[in-house]
Symmetry: C2
Subunit: 129 residues, 2 copies
Protein backbone atom coordinates (compact mmCIF):
# COMPACT_ATOMS: atom_id res chain seq x y z
CA UNK A 1 0.00 0.00 0.00
CA UNK A 2 1.18 3.54 -0.60
CA UNK A 3 2.00 5.66 2.43
CA UNK A 4 -0.48 8.35 1.44
CA UNK A 5 -3.90 6.77 1.94
CA UNK A 6 -6.23 7.47 -0.95
CA UNK A 7 -9.76 8.60 -0.36
CA UNK A 8 -11.21 5.83 -2.52
CA UNK A 9 -9.35 2.98 -0.83
CA UNK A 10 -11.24 1.40 2.03
CA UNK A 11 -8.69 1.04 4.84
CA UNK A 12 -10.75 -1.60 6.63
CA UNK A 13 -10.20 -4.13 3.86
CA UNK A 14 -7.19 -6.38 4.28
CA UNK A 15 -6.90 -7.28 0.63
CA UNK A 16 -8.97 -5.72 -2.14
CA UNK A 17 -8.14 -6.51 -5.70
CA UNK A 18 -10.18 -3.50 -6.80
CA UNK A 19 -7.68 -1.19 -5.12
CA UNK A 20 -4.79 -0.34 -7.40
CA UNK A 21 -2.25 -0.56 -4.59
CA UNK A 22 -3.22 -3.92 -3.18
CA UNK A 23 -0.67 -6.67 -3.81
CA UNK A 24 -3.53 -9.13 -4.42
CA UNK A 25 -3.99 -7.54 -7.82
CA UNK A 26 -0.48 -8.41 -8.90
CA UNK A 27 -0.81 -11.98 -7.55
CA UNK A 28 -4.06 -12.36 -9.45
CA UNK A 29 -2.33 -11.21 -12.62
CA UNK A 30 0.37 -13.84 -12.24
CA UNK A 31 -2.13 -16.69 -11.98
CA UNK A 32 -4.37 -15.41 -14.78
CA UNK A 33 -1.62 -14.45 -17.20
CA UNK A 34 -1.71 -16.06 -20.63
CA UNK A 35 0.88 -18.72 -19.70
CA UNK A 36 0.53 -18.76 -15.91
CA UNK A 37 -3.07 -19.89 -16.12
CA UNK A 38 -2.32 -22.70 -18.59
CA UNK A 39 0.77 -23.90 -16.68
CA UNK A 40 -1.17 -24.11 -13.39
CA UNK A 41 -4.01 -26.08 -14.95
CA UNK A 42 -1.61 -28.36 -16.85
CA UNK A 43 0.01 -29.30 -13.53
CA UNK A 44 -3.36 -30.33 -12.04
CA UNK A 45 -2.86 -33.78 -13.60
CA UNK A 46 0.44 -34.27 -11.77
CA UNK A 47 4.06 -33.16 -11.82
CA UNK A 48 5.70 -32.51 -15.18
CA UNK A 49 9.19 -31.93 -16.45
CA UNK A 50 9.89 -28.65 -18.18
CA UNK A 51 9.74 -29.99 -21.72
CA UNK A 52 6.56 -31.99 -21.11
CA UNK A 53 4.94 -28.87 -19.67
CA UNK A 54 6.10 -26.90 -22.66
CA UNK A 55 4.51 -29.39 -25.05
CA UNK A 56 1.25 -29.22 -23.08
CA UNK A 57 1.13 -25.43 -23.08
CA UNK A 58 1.14 -25.28 -26.85
CA UNK A 59 2.80 -22.18 -28.28
CA UNK A 60 4.77 -20.99 -25.26
CA UNK A 61 8.44 -20.18 -25.80
CA UNK A 62 11.11 -21.72 -23.61
CA UNK A 63 11.93 -18.33 -22.17
CA UNK A 64 8.33 -17.33 -21.42
CA UNK A 65 7.57 -20.66 -19.74
CA UNK A 66 10.71 -20.33 -17.67
CA UNK A 67 9.85 -16.78 -16.55
CA UNK A 68 6.26 -17.84 -15.82
CA UNK A 69 7.28 -20.84 -13.70
CA UNK A 70 9.80 -18.77 -11.79
CA UNK A 71 7.15 -16.23 -10.87
CA UNK A 72 4.68 -18.97 -9.85
CA UNK A 73 7.39 -20.66 -7.78
CA UNK A 74 8.24 -17.36 -6.08
CA UNK A 75 4.57 -16.83 -5.20
CA UNK A 76 4.43 -20.33 -3.67
CA UNK A 77 2.04 -21.82 -6.24
CA UNK A 78 4.51 -24.13 -7.97
CA UNK A 79 7.24 -26.37 -6.53
CA UNK A 80 10.43 -26.96 -8.51
CA UNK A 81 12.32 -30.12 -7.66
CA UNK A 82 15.71 -31.18 -8.90
CA UNK A 83 15.86 -34.96 -9.03
CA UNK A 84 19.15 -36.79 -8.63
CA UNK A 85 19.51 -38.56 -11.93
CA UNK A 86 21.84 -38.69 -14.89
CA UNK A 87 21.16 -36.38 -16.59
CA UNK A 88 19.64 -34.34 -13.72
CA UNK A 89 15.87 -33.91 -13.99
CA UNK A 90 13.77 -30.97 -12.93
CA UNK A 91 10.13 -31.53 -12.11
CA UNK A 92 7.39 -29.00 -11.50
CA UNK A 93 4.32 -29.62 -9.34
CA UNK A 94 1.56 -27.64 -7.64
CA UNK A 95 1.69 -26.65 -3.99
CA UNK A 96 -1.56 -26.81 -2.01
CA UNK A 97 -2.35 -23.14 -2.71
CA UNK A 98 -1.44 -23.69 -6.36
CA UNK A 99 -3.86 -26.60 -6.51
CA UNK A 100 -6.65 -24.47 -5.02
CA UNK A 101 -6.15 -21.79 -7.66
CA UNK A 102 -5.74 -24.31 -10.49
CA UNK A 103 -9.04 -26.02 -9.64
CA UNK A 104 -10.90 -22.73 -10.04
CA UNK A 105 -9.03 -21.90 -13.25
CA UNK A 106 -9.88 -25.33 -14.68
CA UNK A 107 -13.56 -24.58 -13.98
CA UNK A 108 -13.20 -21.28 -15.81
CA UNK A 109 -11.58 -23.01 -18.79
CA UNK A 110 -14.41 -25.57 -18.95
CA UNK A 111 -16.99 -22.79 -18.88
CA UNK A 112 -15.28 -20.70 -21.57
CA UNK A 113 -14.65 -23.71 -23.83
CA UNK A 114 -18.38 -24.38 -23.65
CA UNK A 115 -19.15 -20.77 -24.59
CA UNK A 116 -17.09 -20.66 -27.79
CA UNK A 117 -20.18 -21.11 -29.97
CA UNK A 118 -22.22 -18.39 -28.29
CA UNK A 119 -19.26 -16.01 -28.30
CA UNK A 120 -18.78 -16.57 -32.04
CA UNK A 121 -22.47 -15.80 -32.53
CA UNK A 122 -22.25 -12.64 -30.43
CA UNK A 123 -19.23 -11.47 -32.42
CA UNK A 124 -20.95 -11.97 -35.76
CA UNK A 125 -23.96 -10.03 -34.51
CA UNK A 126 -21.75 -7.23 -33.15
CA UNK A 127 -19.67 -6.97 -36.31
CA UNK A 128 -22.79 -6.89 -38.51
CA UNK A 129 -24.22 -3.78 -36.78
Amino acid sequence: MSEMPQADVDPTLEADVFSRNCSSREILQNVTSRWGLLALVALLDGELRFNALRRRVDGVSERMLSVTLQSLERDGYVRREMLQAIPPRVEYSLTESGRQVAVLLAGLIDLVEGQVGSVDGARQEYDAR
Copy 2:
Protein backbone atom coordinates in the same frame (compact mmCIF):
# COMPACT_ATOMS: atom_id res chain seq x y z
CA MET B 1 -8.65 -23.09 -36.37
CA SER B 2 -6.03 -22.81 -39.11
CA GLU B 3 -6.67 -24.60 -42.39
CA MET B 4 -3.51 -26.67 -42.13
CA PRO B 5 -4.09 -29.06 -39.23
CA GLN B 6 -1.08 -29.34 -36.97
CA ALA B 7 0.15 -32.69 -35.75
CA ASP B 8 -0.06 -31.64 -32.11
CA VAL B 9 -3.66 -30.41 -32.27
CA ASP B 10 -6.20 -33.08 -31.39
CA PRO B 11 -8.92 -32.75 -34.08
CA THR B 12 -11.49 -34.58 -31.94
CA LEU B 13 -11.61 -31.76 -29.40
CA GLU B 14 -14.20 -29.09 -30.07
CA ALA B 15 -12.49 -26.42 -27.99
CA ASP B 16 -9.16 -26.82 -26.28
CA VAL B 17 -7.58 -23.85 -24.63
CA PHE B 18 -4.26 -25.69 -24.57
CA SER B 19 -4.16 -25.61 -28.36
CA ARG B 20 -2.62 -22.42 -29.68
CA ASN B 21 -5.10 -22.14 -32.53
CA CYS B 22 -8.29 -22.57 -30.58
CA SER B 23 -10.37 -19.42 -30.28
CA SER B 24 -11.24 -20.34 -26.69
CA ARG B 25 -7.76 -19.21 -25.70
CA GLU B 26 -8.38 -15.69 -26.96
CA ILE B 27 -11.80 -15.55 -25.27
CA LEU B 28 -10.23 -16.69 -22.02
CA GLN B 29 -7.67 -13.93 -22.31
CA ASN B 30 -10.35 -11.29 -22.72
CA VAL B 31 -12.14 -12.33 -19.52
CA THR B 32 -8.95 -12.76 -17.47
CA SER B 33 -7.20 -9.62 -18.69
CA ARG B 34 -6.15 -7.11 -16.04
CA TRP B 35 -9.19 -4.90 -16.60
CA GLY B 36 -11.61 -7.37 -18.15
CA LEU B 37 -11.64 -9.53 -15.02
CA LEU B 38 -12.23 -6.57 -12.69
CA ALA B 39 -14.94 -5.04 -14.90
CA LEU B 40 -16.87 -8.34 -15.08
CA VAL B 41 -16.76 -8.85 -11.31
CA ALA B 42 -17.65 -5.21 -10.63
CA LEU B 43 -20.81 -5.67 -12.70
CA LEU B 44 -21.91 -8.68 -10.61
CA ASP B 45 -23.52 -6.26 -8.15
CA GLY B 46 -25.69 -4.77 -10.88
CA GLU B 47 -25.54 -2.44 -13.86
CA LEU B 48 -23.20 0.55 -13.73
CA ARG B 49 -22.62 3.68 -15.71
CA PHE B 50 -19.22 4.13 -17.30
CA ASN B 51 -17.87 6.55 -14.72
CA ALA B 52 -19.11 4.52 -11.76
CA LEU B 53 -17.46 1.45 -13.24
CA ARG B 54 -14.28 3.40 -13.73
CA ARG B 55 -14.25 4.49 -10.09
CA ARG B 56 -14.79 0.88 -9.00
CA VAL B 57 -11.97 -0.47 -11.18
CA ASP B 58 -9.41 1.72 -9.47
CA GLY B 59 -6.52 2.74 -11.71
CA VAL B 60 -8.00 2.01 -15.14
CA SER B 61 -7.74 4.76 -17.73
CA GLU B 62 -10.81 5.94 -19.61
CA ARG B 63 -9.41 4.57 -22.84
CA MET B 64 -8.49 1.13 -21.44
CA LEU B 65 -11.88 0.70 -19.79
CA SER B 66 -13.59 1.68 -23.01
CA VAL B 67 -11.54 -0.81 -25.08
CA THR B 68 -12.10 -3.53 -22.45
CA LEU B 69 -15.88 -3.03 -22.36
CA GLN B 70 -16.09 -2.99 -26.13
CA SER B 71 -14.32 -6.32 -26.35
CA LEU B 72 -16.52 -7.84 -23.61
CA GLU B 73 -19.60 -6.51 -25.36
CA ARG B 74 -18.46 -7.99 -28.68
CA ASP B 75 -17.94 -11.38 -27.02
CA GLY B 76 -21.46 -11.24 -25.59
CA TYR B 77 -20.45 -10.97 -21.93
CA VAL B 78 -21.50 -7.37 -21.34
CA ARG B 79 -24.59 -5.48 -22.49
CA ARG B 80 -24.36 -1.76 -23.27
CA GLU B 81 -27.61 0.17 -23.03
CA MET B 82 -28.25 3.74 -24.02
CA LEU B 83 -30.98 5.20 -21.81
CA GLN B 84 -33.22 7.98 -23.04
CA ALA B 85 -32.42 10.81 -20.67
CA ILE B 86 -31.03 14.31 -20.71
CA PRO B 87 -28.08 14.04 -20.84
CA PRO B 88 -28.18 10.53 -22.40
CA ARG B 89 -26.95 7.78 -20.06
CA VAL B 90 -25.08 4.63 -20.97
CA GLU B 91 -25.31 1.66 -18.65
CA TYR B 92 -23.34 -1.56 -18.66
CA SER B 93 -24.59 -4.87 -17.32
CA LEU B 94 -23.72 -8.57 -17.51
CA THR B 95 -25.40 -10.97 -19.91
CA GLU B 96 -26.17 -14.47 -18.65
CA SER B 97 -22.87 -15.85 -19.97
CA GLY B 98 -21.06 -12.83 -18.50
CA ARG B 99 -22.65 -13.57 -15.14
CA GLN B 100 -21.52 -17.21 -15.29
CA VAL B 101 -17.93 -16.16 -15.95
CA ALA B 102 -18.02 -13.35 -13.38
CA VAL B 103 -19.20 -15.71 -10.61
CA LEU B 104 -16.16 -17.95 -11.16
CA LEU B 105 -13.84 -14.94 -11.34
CA ALA B 106 -15.26 -13.59 -8.08
CA GLY B 107 -14.45 -16.95 -6.45
CA LEU B 108 -10.91 -16.70 -7.77
CA ILE B 109 -10.56 -13.17 -6.37
CA ASP B 110 -11.79 -14.32 -2.96
CA LEU B 111 -9.30 -17.17 -2.96
CA VAL B 112 -6.34 -15.03 -4.01
CA GLU B 113 -7.21 -12.23 -1.57
CA GLY B 114 -7.10 -14.85 1.19
CA GLN B 115 -3.69 -16.04 -0.01
CA VAL B 116 -1.92 -12.67 0.11
CA GLY B 117 -0.25 -13.52 3.42
CA SER B 118 1.05 -16.90 2.34
CA VAL B 119 2.24 -15.51 -1.00
CA ASP B 120 4.15 -12.75 0.81
CA GLY B 121 5.76 -15.43 2.98
CA ALA B 122 6.67 -17.55 -0.03
CA ARG B 123 8.25 -14.54 -1.73
CA GLN B 124 10.38 -13.67 1.27
CA GLU B 125 11.58 -17.27 1.48
CA TYR B 126 12.32 -17.38 -2.24
CA ASP B 127 14.16 -14.05 -2.25
CA ALA B 128 16.27 -15.09 0.77
CA ARG B 129 17.66 -18.19 -0.97
